[in-house]
């Protein structure tokens, strides 16, 4: 069997999540090809060629793919699709954007957000915000899949894949990029961090999120937030951990002033160790926390920072 994995990157670096998606491909089993579609992305290609388990790296380096516009990238993938039984992308916002478009053009269903591989046509995925786990069999000859990376470990990067440059350019010409506004942060990505500290409605306002900074600095942590904190306008949506935000599974997750709504738990309950700081001893977050402390966060945070 042949599997095409779409590399997730920003034209300068290959995202670590791709290594986990390749692991999912290995669990399906077959010859794995990595596609790098981007612009001026030689660093990504070099990194991609070192991913273990990958035999070939296809490179489509063209301005049409610079911003991963779904209209253009989906056409490229569907042009290549004939050679592969499985097409996998990472279930991050880029893959979530173009993959269903790929599936529809190929006239097949998509299996979204898989967390385990049962066989080459049967996959496990969470539904209802992770409150139920479905085992789904694809009846299509070609499988289009997005991979939730918290379910898979990263493969190593000491491989040596063959690099093949593609000269096809697929520009649908119906969409264009206007601007990006990225949050500049010295901190690790939420999805990649081994420690995450998140604030909820209990933080009371956006300014108080600064209380998390010192702890995050000491632990090398990423900072997240609950949907309640995002909805209240404390912090931007890209910090949201939950069913409709980021799904994270760090070694240590510290929930501060977060009650533990179903929606939020869906995004973090696979973390290795969960710490909850909340002044309400009845908060549902304590039911999933390994270590809970019933305390006012405005007392607990400065003390925690000083003792780390």
């Amino acid at each position: 069997m042949s599997i095409l994995v779409i590399a997730e990157h920003d034209n300068s670096a290959l995202k670590a999540e791709t290594l986990k998606t390749v692991n999912a491909a290995q669990k399906i089993g077959g010859d794995i090809t990595l596609l790098v579609a981007g612009f001026d992305c030689q660093n990504v290609v070099d990194a991609a060629s070192k991913v273990n388990g990958v035999s070939k790296v296809l490179v489509a380096d063209n301005a049409a793919y610079e911003y991963q516009l779904a209209e253009n990238v989906s056409l490229l993938i569907t042009e290549l699709a004939a050679d592969y039984e499985h097409i996998l992308a990472t279930a991050l916002t880029t893959g979530k954007n173009f993959m269903p478009r790929v599936a529809a053009i190929l006239d097949v269903a998509q299996i979204s957000d898989i967390i385990a591989v049962e066989s080459s046509d049967t996959f496990v995925r969470p539904i209802y915000a992770g409150n139920a786990i479905a085992t789904v069999q694809s009846l299509d000859s070609k499988k289009v899949i997005t991979v939730r990376t918290t379910g898979f470990d990263a493969v190593a990067t000491d491989g040596n894949a063959e690099i093949i440059n593609l000269d096809t350019v697929t520009d649908a010409g119906i969409s264009s990029h206007v601007s990006d506004e990225f949050t500049v942060s010295e901190r690790p990505d939420l999805g990649a961090a081994s420690v995450v500290i998140s604030g909820g409605r209990g933080m009371q306002n956006g300014d108080n999120f600064k209380l998390l900074d010192g702890i995050a600095d000491k632990l090398g942590a990423a900072i997240g937030a609950s949907r309640a904190a995002v909805d209240a306008g404390f912090v931007p949506n890209d910090m949201q951990v939950g069913q409709t935000g980021k799904i994270v599974a760090p070694d240590l997750y510290i929930a501060v002033g977060i009650s533990g709504a179903i929606q939020h738990l869906a995004g973090m309950k696979d973390s290795k160790v969960i710490v909850a700081i909340n002044k309400d001893p009845e908060a549902p977050i304590f039911q999933v926390a390994d270590y809970g402390i019933v305390a006012d966060l405005f007392d607990a945070l400065p003390e925690l920072e000083s003792k780390l």
Binding site: P100, R101, A104, S175, H177, R227, Y291
Partner: protein
């Protein structure tokens, strides 16, 4: 311009779903149902575009059995002008939903289709993108700002790490993210008025599509339960446990 807003009837987001004892599926009997939250944001956005004079007609559409008329009436009460129910007892894959919507798009010729980015039951996040592919339209997914500008629509998208703004040729597909707007509550007079707005029912079989399922649900199980841990008495104890017991900090 005309806007089509597909909506889905789902379990109310405050209700925790239960898995059936035989693991065949989740148990939705006697469960409170509602309009999918992202679909409600889609309706609200269409209504705001109409209030701004950009949109002239809003058509809400839902695919399902008669019960989804309840959610269509909600959409009408929120400001949609008319509604279409595509009648089917089957639970259809996103691809088949998109194929039915494609037929309606061909018939109604909307300039914009606004959908929720994902439904909170199947959590697929597929329908909008699939409809875009089938109709050949560009897509602005996970939208936090939608601005119609002449024959284009600018969509600011919630992406990993921040925001991306794209310009799409009309007609186009938009899928909503949480921060796009805060949906209004339907007023009582509007709920009464909604009862008299047109709601057309069309059997799914009349569209001449092959709607065979492409996936098979083998089983549904409850997630592994996480055991509650311990409550510590002090920050000192917490730091000690994290260092020496959990060994996650040094």
């Amino acid at each position: 311009m005309k806007v089509l807003v597909p909506i889905k009837r789902v379990i109310d987001y405050n209700v925790k779903v239960r898995v059936k004892p035989d693991h065949s599926n989740v148990d939705l009997a006697n469960t409170k149902m509602a309009i999918n939250p992202f679909c409600e944001i889609a309706v609200e956005e269409a209504v705001r575009l109409k209030e701004a004079g950009v949109v002239t007609e809003i058509i809400a559409i839902s695919i399902g059995d008669k019960s989804c008329q309840e959610q269509l009436r909600t959409a009408l009460a929120l400001g949609a002008d008319r509604a279409i129910q595509i009648d089917t007892d089957e639970s259809l894959d996103a691809l088949n939903i998109a194929k039915l919507l494609q037929k309606v798009v061909e018939e109604e010729q909307p300039q914009l289709v606004i959908l929720g980015k994902q439904s909170i039951d199947s959590d697929n996040n597929q329908t909008g993108q699939m409809l875009a592919a089938l109709t050949g339209m560009p897509q602005g997914t996970f939208a936090s700002v939608v601005k119609v500008d002449g024959d284009k629509v600018n969509v600011t998208r919630e992406v990993d790490g921040g925001l991306q703004t794209v310009a799409l040729n009309l007609p186009a597909i938009v899928t909503t993210d949480l921060r796009l707007n805060e949906p209004r509550y339907a007023s009582l007079p509007n709920i009464m008025k909604a009862k008299r707005k047109p709601l057309a029912v069309k059997p799914a079989a009349d569209f001449g599509l092959n709607l065979t399922a492409r996936t098979k649900l083998l089983k549904v199980t409850p997630p592994a339960e996480r055991q509650a841990g311990i409550v510590v008495e002090s920050i000192d104890e917490l730091v000690e446990k994290l260092k020496n017991e959990a060994k996650v900090i040094s």
